[in-house]
């Protein structure tokens, strides 16, 4: 059923009895043209673009839990394209543009709200970096504007901009087209649209191994629901990419870390943008329900435990209390962690793996949510044509052999 104001009205009159489940729950078939491992945003978007752009509909998305139960349900929903290098800016800007039309495209309200994102400068060095970043973004065709402390104070009245603040505010950078979206809606919207095109979404189906032919190429997967055959397999499993790679017999330049996030009790509107303090690594936005959504730095040792640790929690919340004194007594509602796949240059790995027929979409680290539309576009292109998408060419696994790294860790000051 197409979602529309008219159908909402009509169902209101009929007692809401006409709504159908948004996607089927089919049993796995014996074989598919393409298998996508990972039922998060990236995997579901890949299946959607395979069906929509390439007409490949014999596709299965295999998810070990329920769709969106990994990082797609654990992120802090920020969407932005404020990167430094041209290759990154092109890719993330493409993703942002896809987000701008996503609700219409999927006929599903993903609640994309372009409320802007402000990066603060707390020192003269930060100010120089803000100006450098602004110039780099504009040269790459991405919107960017610097802000004075007074402009920031007007936009974010709860931020302490007094001269004796613990973290004085000397200026900032805003990307006005950045914003947030409802993370579950992005997952459900892609799932519903892919299902409507014939894609099988198979939940509670964990991949436990790969089947390989005599030539080494993949011929299928072993799963908790039996073997499934396919000669093209895409892997979009974020922090668990190394485990899938191990099953296929190779290693990746990835370390898995826990990234914590927090949401507060609902408050009246106090913050109408996304705000980041690079000095503390802490960023915050306010959800439509009123909860403050807070993120910070990584727990800096390798982890597959989907929970955070107290020292980082204390740093993040201490920074919030110092920068936003009026929030010092706000209580937290929930606190959780997702397992992120961090690569040495903080840029993703897209394309061929060392195993024929097996393709990667990983290494997004702490920033995969904003890249869901472009990640799906690039992996679908790779799976359908067996050639990298033009946007994905610089992001191949080979760059760790050639040395052509895209060092956004240094370029755009990602702390991890």
């Amino acid at each position: 059923m197409r979602y529309s104001a008219w159908n909402v009205f009509k169902e209101g009159l009929k007692g809401q009895r006409g709504w159908k489940p948004a996607w089927r729950s089919p049993d796995p078939k014996q074989s598919y043209d393409v298998i996508v491992i990972g039922g998060g945003g990236h995997g579901l978007a890949t299946a959607y673009y395979l069906a929509k752009s390439f007409g490949i509909t014999r596709v299965a998305v295999l998810e070990k839990g329920w769709i969106g139960s990994g990082n797609s349900g654990r992120n802090t929903t920020a969407i932005r394209s404020n990167y430094y290098y041209r290759a990154s800016a092109r890719m993330y800007e493409h993703s942002l543009k896809l987000y701008e039309g996503l609700s219409k495209e999927l006929n599903y309200n993903v609640m994309f709200s372009q409320r802007g994102m402000i990066s603060l400068a707390h020192s003269l060095h930060d100010l120089e970096l803000v100006n450098r970043q602004m110039n780099a973004m504009r040269l790459n065709g991405v919107d960017a504007k610097t802000l004075s402390p007074a402009e920031i104070g007007r936009r974010v009245p709860i931020l302490d901009i007094s001269p004796d603040a613990r973290f004085p505010v000397l200026g900032g950078l805003i990307q006005k087209r950045a914003g947030t979206a409802r993370h579950d809606a992005v997952v459900w919207g892609y799932a519903r649209a892919a299902d409507a095109l014939g894609v099988d979404i198979i939940q509670n189906c964990e991949v436990t191994g790969f089947r390989r032919g005599a030539d080494g190429a993949v011929t299928g997967v072993e799963t908790s629901r039996g073997p499934i055959a396919s000669r093209k397999i895409g892997v979009a499993v974020a922090g668990h990419s190394s485990r899938l790679a191990e099953m296929a017999g190779f290693r990746l330049p990835i370390t898995s870390y826990a990234l914590q996030a927090f949401v507060s009790e609902p408050l009246k509107p106090v913050l109408d943008t996304v705000i980041l303090s690079p000095a503390t690594g802490v960023y915050m936005s306010q959800s439509d329900k009123g909860g403050l959504v807070i993120g910070g730095g990584l727990d800096l040792y390798p982890s597959y435990a989907q929970r955070g640790n107290m020292p980082v929690m204390r740093n993040v919340l201490g920074a919030i209390a110092a920068q936003y004194p009026s929030l010092g007594r706000v209580r937290l509602l929930r606190h959780w962690a997702g397992i992120v796949d961090v690569v040495p240059d903080s840029s993703p790995i897209i394309g061929a793996s060392p195993v024929p027929g097996l393709f990667l979409d990983c290494g997004w680290g702490t920033g995969g949510f904003k890249a869901i539309p472009v990640g799906g576009t690039m992996l679908a292109h790779q799976l359908a044509t067996l050639a990298p998408h033009p946007l994905a060419e610089p992001f191949s696994l080979e760059r760790f052999t050639t040395g052509a790294l895209i060092d956004e860790a240094a370029g755009s000051g990602i702390a991890h």
Binding site: R251, P253, I254, P302, P344, T402, G403
Partner: protein, 98 residues
Amino acid sequence: MLQISCPWCGPRDEVEFRCGGQSHIIRPGPPEVVDDVTWGKYLSEKINPRGEHLERWQHHAGCRRWFNAARDTATHRIRVTYHMTEAAPAVSLGDVAP
């Protein structure tokens, strides 16, 4: 909060330590005969297991010396810490079956 046993200082709080990542990585050589693929793997590839991981730690806010730890990445339990010069212990399967 983890409690980590520095081989020199004894048990201390996690905040005194920094993790240096995977341990027992052997540098390939001699450099003039090592090809790009081997260098790339040496510099970037990680085991990154879910389960027991042999890794380097530094007692950063204490004696500042480096040591090794066998730690489970799923439960964070540290089975043993040992000196940098000691041979790697046999890796257990870890606390959580894969």
